[in-house]
């Protein structure tokens, strides 16, 4: 059993719903109790989709358990077929139905429906949402594209002369973090490179589209968490290679262009020479020097976390002081990336552990999920959201991709926005005592946040923070003058100064922190 306050991912059947909902002509019959229908609101309220997810729930009740829940499932599947006339059907169980072992797959096959039926085995007590999405997409691709597979070992036929290279765009789902906009951005980028899109899936694809996946020359994998399993199968089955670069950030976008061009056998030199991102120039402009070395903590799904850290370090000039992911399946990639920043990756889906680490690191900016936004807000640290789990705010009305050159500019804006502007920061450092320009004042362009700050102030030591803090703060006395001196240090580094000083004092068994200790520690840590 795991104590969970907030979860980063839903259960695996929600992953399956993300695939079914993304597609057209697919219906998902889910053996589940009534409360599980809450999942519809993820799509209708958070993503504001205009249609209900194509999901039928059996909503069995306690009184059905003694009787025939299997019959209930069959009726639901039959009725769903007759009502919605899908071109393919997914069937499966949620956590509770898994326990009653009715075998939805077998039951659905017994109905002998005239459409492809894909049974899903999504172990709800081991796996989570992204895994469920990946598995569902893979099973659908296998089932629908499989019949077109050439005999094993058949070499890939050469592209007919003069035909434009074609790729599939794999991974975007419903309820994905900016997937909609990323697809648009990357599609236009591929067009500029000279590559045609054969099928983009699962978002907006039909079962018939999946059947044509094998016709492309290669695959572009936008979200490995969702699509790498399917892409590997497509590679084995149709000999389609897949891209490995995730085009998040201007640098990665250029690498992506080069990789695609190479897979497509095209020359992208002109495009690369012409292409430029406004974010690159903005980061170089003098106003951005204040961004240098800002300490940033990054957490999210593996793909977005690794990409964000890279952008933070190479395109913003930040210092990555921590990186982590809740995607255990992709822990290796994140550990690898962490090494490059000289930090240890945090691989966990326990919100409390993340909170403890942020509290301990006291970064100047958190790039995380909605969960880290909670944490950062409580600790008074600026934060920008870079990854799912999603919130209604993560579906902005405006075009706001994360990928491609436009995405790089979106990242620049979103990450810089919560920070204090350069000169403002200096003024506050110089004139700390000013009654308006004080530490609890938010950046002046974020007027609304001032209230949030002052409201957070009385709650400065909520149980969570206290507990997390207790782990690192041993009881150590501060002389009153030292406390006063500490107050003169700008608030955005004060937490770190306090912590460093205390660690310094503990290491040297200094019983009481004086002004001297404070400056000794400062000298020690600023080597």
């Amino acid at each position: 059993m795991q104590l969970t306050l907030w979860t980063y991912e839903g259960p695996p059947h929600v992953g399956a719903m993300r695939i079914a909902t993304a597609m057209k002509g697919v219906h998902y019959v889910l053996h589940a109790p009534q409360g599980d229908t809450y999942a519809d609101l993820l799509f209708t309220m958070i993503e504001r989709r205009t249609k209900r997810p194509p999901v039928t729930y059996t909503t069995f009740q306690a009184r059905d358990l003694g009787g025939d829940t299997a019959e209930l499932f069959k009726n639901a599947a039959r009725e769903a077929f007759e009502r919605f006339r899908p071109a393919a059907m997914l069937v499966g169980a949620s956590c509770t139905a898994e326990l009653i072992q009715d075998d939805p797959g077998g039951l659905a096959l017994a109905l002998d429906l005239p459409i492809p039926v894909v049974p899903l085995e999504l172990p709800a007590y081991q796996r989570k949402e992204n895994w469920g999405a990946a598995e569902t997409f893979y099973q659908l691709v296998r089932k629908l594209a499989g019949p077109a597979a050439p005999p094993v070992g058949t070499p890939r036929p050469a592209r007919t002369a003069g035909a434009r290279p074609r790729c599939n765009l794999l991974g975007p789902t419903a309820l994905g973090f900016r997937h909609r906009d990323d697809v648009r951005e990357i599609s236009s980028l591929l067009a500029r490179i000279g590559v045609e899109i054969n099928v983009a899936a699962p978002l907006d694809a039909t079962p018939a589209d999946l059947a044509r996946l094998g016709e492309a020359d290669f695959n572009v994998v936008l979200y490995p968490e969702i699509a790498s399993q399917a892409a590997q199968w497509l590679n084995r089955t149709f000999g389609q290679p897949a891209t490995r670069t995730i085009p998040i950030g201007a640098v990665a976008t250029r690498e992506f262009i080069a990789e695609v061009a190479q897979l497509a056998g095209l020359d992208a030199a002109t495009l690369l020479a012409e292409a430029e991102s406004r974010s690159t120039w903005y980061a170089r402009s003098v106003d951005s020097t204040y961004l240098t070395g800002k300490r940033v903590f990054v957490f999210g799904d593996a793909t977005h976390a690794v990409a964000a850290a890279r952008v933070a370090a190479r395109e913003m000039g930040f210092t990555v002081v921590g990186i982590g992911t809740y995607s255990r399946e992709f822990a290796r990639e994140v550990r690898e990336a962490a090494k490059g920043y000289g930090v240890e990756a945090l691989i966990t889906d326990d919100y409390l552990e993340v909170e403890a680490q942020v509290t301990q690191l006291q970064p100047e900016l958190v790039l995380g999920t909605q969960m880290e936004r909670h944490i950062a807000k409580r600790l008074g640290i600026p934060c920008a959201v870079i990854s799912a789990p999603v919130h209604v705010q993560d579906f902005p009305a405006r075009y706001s991709p994360q990928m491609g050159f436009e995405g790089a500019s979106v990242l620049f804006d979103t990450w810089v926005h919560p920070l204090m502007m350069g000169l403002e920061e200096h003024l506050i450092t110089m004139f700390r005592g000013d009654f308006e320009f004080h530490e609890n004042a938010a950046p002046s362009h974020l007027g609304a946040l001032t209230a949030a700050h002052s409201e957070a102030a009385p709650a400065a030591a909520p149980p969570a923070a206290t507990l997390a803090g207790a782990a690192i703060e041993q009881v150590i006395a501060w002389a009153p003058e030292a406390e006063l001196e500490l107050r003169k240090i700008p608030f955005f580094v004060r937490g770190k100064a306090r912590r460093n000083t205390e660690r310094f004092a503990i290491d040297r068994a200094v019983p009481r922190i004086t002004v001297e200790t404070l400056y000794d520690a400062k000298a020690h840590f600023s080597r």
């Binding site: 059993m1 969970t4 979860t7 009534q34 409360g35 229908t37 809450y38 205009t50 326990l99 149980p463």
Partner: protein
């Protein structure tokens, strides 16, 4: 003391109302959802769901990620090791509770909340609660109830929660004098208003259940007369009655009329004379009627369709029909408690179409065919129906907003009027 608890003119009436009973997909929350308001109401209680990742995700999604304060709820997620018997589920639960209580020393009352998985694997949470109560006594009391979707629908979670607290209520010391107990979660502001009204009538003592703090448990015994403030409290009422308390039959305090009849039931039980009752209630009632008159212009004649959600549908429909002149196309309820709703049913316009249970697809067909002016429905259905051109009011807001009593009557009406007004404001 007046033994008559049912006003005679309201005893009958429901029998002739036709009810459509349906089975099929139920598009409703499970009882776990009640935690979202219960954890705010009882300020030193904590709710630990023993369930799956789905349960954790449900509460988180239903609450929105909008709760920025540390939530007083969490989930102990059962994993494969618990299922395979590799870990002793009870020992695991003890460990989780230990960690939780260390983290939250301010917690005085802990609810272990059962879910579908915990019930299907027959994890005995009542024994676990007794065991944990002993080991954390006297600092923390541990109770248990089920909010599972196989047993409870949405607001029934509150019913199960309150029912679990009833055995722990202290016995009434003075059984000779009646005491009034108001049962069901109300917003604090509404409680305070009601308290003032009872006070002005001279009805005392008055207690509210659930209490704001876990230690403030109201006494209970044969002298207790209770009024349900919510229509979904079947098990709680039964548990109270088993301890000798007597339920005062009344419609629910929604709208000016509902509030008056509800207060009247208490006044009758206390033999409050008409003049006193009038003096106490007239100002509030007149204010409410005045404010409602304005909303009536907007709502009268509009046709409303209720999807089943909270069991508040019938009292709400009665209010909309009688005080605002709306027409009831269909009133769906997840469950109809005939006895508790008897006075409400009697007030519904003759021929009102009621439905109990749900087959959501067929109900959507009926709804589309009827093309009502306003659809009251859950979060999963609202936006899709809006996109189809219907106007909706999401029902969950009716559970989270102070809507009971005179001072809130117009606010309640406004909740229904707002989507209609908004439609007219927005450019087509």
């Amino acid at each position: 003391m007046n033994a008559r608890s049912v006003p005679p003119h309201l005893t009958e009436g429901c029998a002739e109302i036709p009810i459509l009973r349906e089975r099929g997909q139920r598009e409703v929350f499970c009882g776990l959802t009640g935690i979202i308001w219960l954890h705010r109401k009882i300020q030193d209680a904590f709710f630990l769901v023993v369930g799956s990742r789905t349960c954790a995700h449900l509460i988180q999604s239903a609450a929105g990620v909008m709760i920025f304060a540390e939530p007083r709820f969490a989930t102990a997620i059962i994993d494969e090791r618990d299922l395979a018997g590799l870990a002793d589920a009870n020992a695991e639960l003890d460990r989780v509770v230990q960690r939780l209580i260390e983290r939250r020393p301010d917690i005085k009352l802990l609810f272990l909340v059962g879910s579908c998985p915990s019930e299907v694997i027959k994890l005995d949470l009542s024994r676990a609660a007794a065991r944990l109560s002993r080991s954390f006594s006297p600092d923390v009391r541990v109770l248990n109830y089920s909010g599972s979707g196989i047993e409870t629908t949405f607001t029934q979670g509150e019913d199960a929660c309150l029912a679990s607290m009833v055995p722990g209520l202290p016995a009434q010391a003075d059984t000779a004098h009646p005491a009034l107990l108001i049962v069901g979660t109300l917003a604090d502001v509404v409680e305070d208003q009601m308290r003032r009204l009872f006070n002005e009538m001279g009805i005392a003592p008055v207690a509210f259940f659930p209490p704001r703090r876990a230690a403030d448990l109201p006494p209970l015994g044969p002298g207790t007369r209770f009024l349900l403030a919510q229509p979904f409290l079947a098990d709680t009422a039964r548990a109270l009655e088993q301890r000798g308390a007597i339920r005062l039959d009344a419609p629910f305090p929604l709208g000016a009329e509902g509030t008056t009849l509800w207060l009247q039931a208490a006044a009758d039980a206390w033999d409050i004379d008409a003049a006193t009752f009038h003096r106490a209630t007239a100002p509030g009632r007149e204010r409410a009627q005045l404010a409602l008159a304005r909303q009536r212009d907007q709502l009268a004649g509009q046709r409303v369709f209720f999807f089943p959600d909270s069991q508040l549908e019938i009292p709400l429909a009665r209010f909309l029909a009688r005080e605002l002149g709306m027409q009831l196309v269909e009133v769906g309820t997840p469950y109809l408690h005939r006895q508790h709703l008897a006075t409400e049913l009697a007030l519904l316009p003759a021929g009102t179409m009621l439905s109990e249970g749900q087959h959501v697809e067929k109900q959507l067909d009926r709804c589309r065919a009827a093309a009502p002016d306003l659809v009251v429905c859950g979060l999963g259905l609202a936006n899709p129906l809006e996109a189809e051109g219907l106007t909706t009011k999401w029902s969950i807001e009716l559970v989270f907003t102070p809507i009971q009593g005179y001072e809130q009557a117009a606010d309640l009406a406004e909740l229904f009027a707002r989507p209609l007004v908004r439609r007219t404001w927005l450019a087509a």
